[in-house]
Symmetry: C3
Subunit: 322 residues, 3 copies
């Protein structure tokens, strides 16, 4: 099913140059787009690709208007990448099939849960007693929302997400452990997206809190009583231990690990694979990764690494002598 | 729903000082507790917080009896943290709603599985042929227990847990792989808790074994034919490769990675994020983490790290000269 | 239920020496096998175990024929490990119970999905509109296959697998994020096995591609638009970020992390726990792991590591002086 360029511009705005009747049959990257496809140019570095592109139309920033016009049809928008994102949304809506029931018959919703009338609960989801699902929120499939947990409006929870399992809390007792029942819940704001099989544990006494606009990728673990601030983005396979307090507008790379009971300021970026063992109180980019190498080189360096502090002492001794 | 202090002490014991009719409306940390809330002091370091606390009652050790009495109501118990854990359990029982059916109608239980009469199987769980679920054990929701796997008594398996998927075993053959069918099962002891979306694979020939009292957090992978000893605690996102033999009373930090076919002695602690590539035969704390740094400093150090063994050689050469 | 040695050899071939009527009651490792069990010897290093083994029969390579015959019954096969794998398969088939319905009644299959007649869809699986499940493929239980995703023939997807959740794509916009709808799908070849709770995201515009014969362990994350080449094997807890292009016949160790938009050549092996931050264009073994140590030693070395580049400068200065 195609969309005419005129329909796209009518829906999303922007300054349009070209034939509004041209049928767009798909979206594609600049370098592979065909004459029936729409592409975008966000980074000026790729301007040579613009000139060579066969795309039927290209979304560009005002600064790229001239070269784009020289090539053919274009939509000029202040932020071409965000415009492109809105086109993908338009595209998806245009191709959606008629909606089935808001709550799939296989979902198990406790009679004391509250689900907004326009929320959508997919197959095999479970929403427990006292949980609340906000307006326009989508639980795709096989999502579990435990007792008393609250999900805001316009959230998307992908397949396999678990919200509100017990936090990991035990008191040592006679060589074993007493379970500390987790009496808090999870509160999730609006416009939050949570990736497949990600888990957010309920709080021990107070709640675990995910603020508005947070985006969590797949297979992430968020421990009890964490707080993740507004619009922070966390990539897949990351672990965040209990009571970590993470600021707003952070970007946490994939497979990072953040220890519990520490604070990360707003606008901190953590490189993928880094281990955060202390609070980070200043914005910036932080990294801690062992660089990969061919195995033979790694072995030699890793062996030396285990004597590193003795090397320092030997340098000091040499410095004294000379 | 409140509990009176007298009810708590009647149920759990301890030496009580104060008004047994005082209604407790919640549990809270010492520093934020209100006059209607119960708190605890476990670590003597926090004694100043005790003196300032507004809590209606505080659980303390015998050594803190005097300052606690000076402040107001208290429960004196040998181990305040374990006592507090038991209060959370009492609290949860007191606030539970009447139980529904022991086996949720949406669960799929094979006719040849054996489920103890007082076990509880939640929504969308699957228990396959020959599996056995012990007395008082709870499968929260969407738990999968494969053929022939055995779960002991009083275990808790959180949402999304997978017990007994095939271990990862293939024999190279003609450029591809022959599957090695996994003919063992998983045997889990009593009083084991397993976090959301954690996976424990079935053994290849013999069984994978999780002993009594083990606590596993969320999103942990346990490979085929591992053994995890009694009362060992493993934090989230940890991976344990096949045939690892882990002792009793260990504590494995989050996002640790333990290679297969190695042995970890009893009472070994592994720091979060550490990679365990060799057996550890002595109790103690072990660590292997690249320290995080601002990215610019990290880049300089990481670049030098790749020449580390040449630095050692240069130091040696200098030592010869001087 | 036992199998006679003659039945095994009749089904799988190989040169047999011994009593074909001997009933084999199980498979076991060489060192623990009983007279009613079948074992194998693949690595010549374990020849002393062969001589001591009590196994009823041993599968050996032609080079081990003599010592095996000196001990008792044996099957001589070109590749004993692959032969053993085929015995496990025979064993499983012989012990399978009569198959139930091909599609479990609790599974939710969209009317516009296409499931091969001999595919098997287990309890609580969800297969969405336009998805296709190939001949002989098994979805064990609680597997989710999203809209338009294609799974080839003879695949095995274990419990909790999520195929085709949205890739993680957002365009920054006004301090928050616009969702980039993920319009691609996931295409999985033939003979692919995917472990429990592993996630493979759908592509943004083009598809995410998993080629024939790939084996993925549990709790792996594969980002949008990745390609994983034929017969590559990936161990558990590994994360592969978006648009990574991984060759054929690679072996990726557990808990590795592979950044996005990079290329890994055919026949590259990555050690478990390594972080791959750059393309690897030559076959070989690559490693990047911080070596574990007792915590006190680690602390001293890690502290020195943060000054590593200054140590290099000090060595340089010393070299100039001497």
């Amino acid at each position: 099913m195609a969309l005419q360029l005129g329909e796209i511009v009518a829906a999303l705005g922007g300054e349009f140059h070209g034939d509004s009747a041209l049928a767009i049959e798909g979206l594609a990257p600049l370098e592979s787009a065909q004459p029936s496809q729409l592409a975008f140019l966000s980074n000026p570095r790729y301007r040579p690709q613009l000139e060579a592109s066969r795309a039927g139309c290209v979304i560009v920033a005002p600064a790229m208007r001239e070269p784009a016009l020289a090539r053919g049809a274009c939509i000029v928008a202040d932020d071409p990448y965000a415009y492109f994102a809105r086109v993908t949304q338009l595209w998806k809506r245009a191709h959606a099939r008629p909606a089935g029931p808001a709550i799939h018959p296989s979902a198990v919703i406790d009679p004391e849960a509250v689900v907004a009338p326009d929320a959508r609960i997919g197959p095999h989801c479970v929403v427990e007693r006292g949980a609340r699902i906000g307006a326009g929120t989508v639980l795709k499939a096989r999502v579990y929302v435990a007792e008393g947990c609250v999900i805001g409006a316009r959230c998307i929870l992908h397949a396999g997400v678990v919200i509100g399992a017990d936090g990991f809390g035990f008191a040592p007792s006679q060589g074993g452990y007493e379970k500390i029942e987790q009496l808090g819940a999870v509160r999730i704001g609006d416009d939050v997206e949570i990736g497949a099989n990600t888990c957010i544990d309920r709080g021990a006494l107070a709640d675990t809190v995910i603020e508005d606009g947070v985006k969590l990728d797949n297979l992430i673990q968020v421990g009890h009583n964490c707080r993740i601030g507004r619009n922070t983005v966390v990539s897949g396979c990351t672990g965040i231990a209990g009571s970590a307090n993470i600021g707003a507008h952070c970007m946490i790379g994939g497979a990072a690990m953040i220890l519990g009971h520490l604070t990360i300021a707003d606008k901190v970026n953590i490189s993928a694979g880094s281990f955060v063992a202390r609070s980070i109180l200043k914005p910036g980019l932080y990294t801690g990764i062992f660089p990969i190498d061919d195995n033979a080189s790694w072995e030699k360096n890793a062996a030396t690494l285990k004597q590193l502090h003795t090397l320092r002492d030997r340098i000091k001794a040499l410095e004294k002598k000379t």
